[in-house]
């Protein structure tokens, strides 16, 4: 009994801990995720009851066997037949009910027609490219791995892939949708509360599928507008001599061939846009917190941290590393 209680406590502790996870379907904060959570809990409860009933019947059937009986009469077989038929009918009713509940949930999660903001997501091996297009091309900007959205507003996310199949999944906000090369999928998300919502690629996409996280940061409209304005601006020029030396280094070394920093000569399109990389919370698609130290570690040896990813290990001296990391950090 004590062991049983301990197990129950242990499991409950884990469950409760999980409910607070930032990437949990049970920690629903988006409109869609909340509806999904209700459906999930409903179906799980119904199925648990069914399983419990079957177990009760099984246990009773085994316990009954203690009293020896003769082989079953045709009357008892007929009675059993009626019970089995009733059970099958009950199964049909339950299945139909669950199917209908699922249909209603699907209808409720339809695409929203009045999404004012559209963000294009391009999946890359192994990072997320977010393109905020505007009718005025001067106002369009790109960022990587961290998406900001205003709360309480439907956001239309357009999903494309540039290489293999990925899957956009932020469980606290909505269910997942695949990014498939050759087609465009659309999903609507809406955060009801400000917060940082973590997501992860949910379709196996190669060596670093495990390290392809994304963050959706929901903030109130004013804060979002401020963020967007800052992102639209060209890169910040820092007066710090180390950062200036780092910038010159960035242009001279292979960095500028793959990365873009708007407002400088760097206009590579293979790697993530680094114009405001200093303002992000994490780097390398959620692998490391964004600090100067982790920036330096990442630049020094990306292949040990994320083996197989497409950023090469560029040989740099320790001075060069310090200058580059200062420059990266300054790009707020």
């Amino acid at each position: 009994m004590k062991a049983g209680a301990a197990v129950v406590l242990f499991v409950s502790a884990i469950l409760i801990a999980g409910c607070n996870g930032a990437q949990s379907a049970l920690n629903a904060e988006g409109a869609a995720a909340v509806q999904l959570k209700h459906l999930i809990i409903g179906i799980v409860v119904v199925c648990s009851v069914v399983w419990a009933l079957v177990m009760v019947v099984l246990v009773l059937a085994l316990l009954r066997a203690r009293t020896p009986r003769e082989s079953p009469s045709s009357e008892s077989e007929r009675r059993m037949g009626k019970l089995v038929t009733a059970a099958v009918a009950a199964t049909v009713v339950i299945i139909a009910g669950l199917t209908i509940a699922s249909f209603y949930a699907t209808r409720g999660l339809g695409m929203s027609e009045d999404a004012t903001l559209a963000i294009k997501v391009r999946g890359q091996q192994w990072w997320w490219q977010f393109i905020y297009d505007d009718v005025d091309p001067a106002k369009s900007f790109q960022t990587a791995n961290e998406m900001h959205i205003p709360v309480g507003v439907d956001i239309r996310i357009e999903l494309e892939s540039s290489d293999v199949i990925h899957s956009f999944w932020v469980p606290s906000l909505a269910g997942k949708r695949d990014l498939i090369p050759g087609r465009q999928n659309v999903i609507t998300i809406r955060a009801e509360r400000p917060g940082v919502y973590r997501g992860q690629c949910a379709e196996f996409c190669g060596l670093q599928h495990s390290h392809m996280a994304l963050f959706v940061i929901a903030e109130d409209m004013a804060a979002y507008q401020r963020w967007a304005a800052a992102q639209r601006a060209s890169s910040v020029s820092s007066a710090d001599p180390e950062a200036t030396a780092g910038k010159a280094l960035f242009m001279r070394k292979p960095c500028a061939a793959c990365h873009t920093i708007r407002g400088t000569e760097a206009s590579g399109s293979t790697g993530p846009d680094l114009t405001h990389v200093g303002s992000r919370q994490t780097i390398a698609a959620g692998l490391l917190d964004n600090t100067r130290g982790s920036l330096a570690a990442w630049i020094a040896d990306p292949q040990t941290l994320k083996p197989g990813n497409n950023m090469p290990m560029v040989p740099l001296s320790s001075d060069e590393l310090r200058q580059l990391s200062a420059y990266m950090e300054s790009l707020k």
Binding site: I14, A17, G18, Q23, S24, A25, L26, A33, L39, I40, I43, C47, W51, V54, M55, V57, L58, A61, L62, A65, P68, S71, P72, E77, M80, G81, L83, V84, A87, V88, T91, V92, I95, L98, T99, S102, A105, T106, G110, I165, S167, P171, G175, K176, D178, I180, P181, G182, R183, R198, A202, E203, F204, C205, G206, L207, H209, S210, P307, G308
Partner: protein, 637 residues
Amino acid sequence: MTNDNKPAQPTDLMFGDDELERRLAQTWRTPAGVWGALTTVDHKIIGRRYIVTAFVFLALGGLLALAMRLQLAQPEARFIGPDRYNQIFTMHGSNMMFLFAVPVMEAMAVYLVPLMVGTRNIAFPRLNAFSYWIYLAGGLLLWISFALDTAPDVGWFAYVPLSGPQYGAGKRADLWAQMITFTEVAALAVAVEIVVTVFKQRAPGMSLDRIPLFVWSMLVTAFLVIMAMPAIMLASSTLILDRLVGTHFYNPTEGGDALLWQHLFWFFGHPEVYIIFLPAVGMVSTIIATFSRRPVFGYLPLVMALIATGLLAFGLWVHHMFVVGLPKLGESFFTASSMAIAIPAGIQIFCWLATLWGGQPVLKTPMLFVLGFIVTFVIGGLTGVMVASVPFDTQVHDTYFVVAHFHYVLVGGAVFPLLGAIYYWFPKISGRMMSETLGRWAFALIFAGFNLTFFPMHILGLEGMPRRIYTYQPEMPWAGMNMFVSFSALILSLGFLVFFVDVIRSTRSGQIAGENPWGASTLEWATSSPPPCFNFRRIPVVGARDPLWSQPEELTVAGGLRTDRRELIVSSVVEAQPEASESSPRNSIWPLLAALATTVMLIWSIFSPWAVIWGSIPIGITLTGWFWPKQTPEDES
């Protein structure tokens, strides 16, 4: 059969029991030694070989799983790098699905179906031998590639474009695709044999409504194999064409479609899991009947449920594609059909419960595994109902929730009955009983270890842990539960170790079993343990379901088959009226040679398309040798 004018044709009517046995053994025997082993067409020897090989693959796949659990026990662990880990989980899935689950069920059928329907050998015995060699070649291909560090690393379902020419570097995905060809040819061969054996070689009087439920389940499974395997063969062949020759089946810019792969694969992939599950259903029905000391309740509903499951299985495949962005109406149809398949499954569960209720259950090891099956499979089936719902699936697809679901239905729904079946039929196959004590230990460890390993995965999935990741971040709340799961996996492995130890020990020193140690009712228990090479001294005549319970003293038998050449009875499809005596091929080396030629051609074609042309020549030669009349006595038949 009644040639009164021809003198001195030895038939089984002429001899007493001992003399008959001597003559039949002479005609049907497999010679000793290596040559006999390579040329045998005896379904029992081939079936035993198949089962042992499949269990070797199970053990290897289990080791892969332990490696994965070692890596995942801690966040950002460094035991296995991403490349190796991707190979390991691809190998684990491909091995378990293609090299263990389907072959072992077919192997049980190869051994048991001819005995259960009361015939001397399976239909097309040389094709049976060929099938085993091809299967072995495919398994070796895959495992040797793993040992050489070129195992496929694209997941067991190898989605394009990841497995396509641009992103799947090297020959890895080609090796995977060709392994599929090997194993599917083997599976198709066995399926065809089973259909013909069940329809045309049944003992006289065994009409369709008197066939044992295991035979019914294998018949339905065989039809599923025949209908579903072509889809995967097409898919894997077009993948090789894309990669080797430069076609554009899956290239969106040139008119192909990445989703075409998914449709083709899952059109096979969903029936595949029923190919694995339905034989287990047959095993459960058999074991429950024997150990409840009564015939199974609801024979007709159970048969109808089998057929309904088989038909419905072809209408579910899109539920694997609920998140790719298909039209909502289409997705909803597949939700309805995926939920609907729970109804035949429910019918089966209720009939089995009714059998237990109305019987006197004897809790020997096979029955323990069947009880474990009911507990675990119902959980798996119910989580299946959960993932059948499109909105539910958008949160749990490609997470550990789905991993938990399919292990519950595959291990709970197929492996538990299989283990029970091994305990049940081991006395028949080897002549010795397995240990009841070790059996109980194996069951307890496997049942507890399995549930402790896989139940927490439901929670991990809901907490956001995706599938096929080689590691995860320390800040995610998954580390504790992953460590718990990894330890529980050790308990599960220990249970399997006990099982394997029991098998090996019992082979050498188990208690000698008689003809029918369990007091069962089907025909395979009417002959010695292990059965002689000719299966039955005289072909039994069946008058009811459960022949050994309806005629407990002595079975009626039919006579008139020749003893100087290999003959068996061919009977009508529905009523099993004897129609003719048909000859059965003798031992032959040509199946092995044909398998070797096919292996060479298929492996060569991974590297060059010309292999299909030049490699077909040896195949043609060996097939000619196969079918060339051999001047054996069977030719006159």
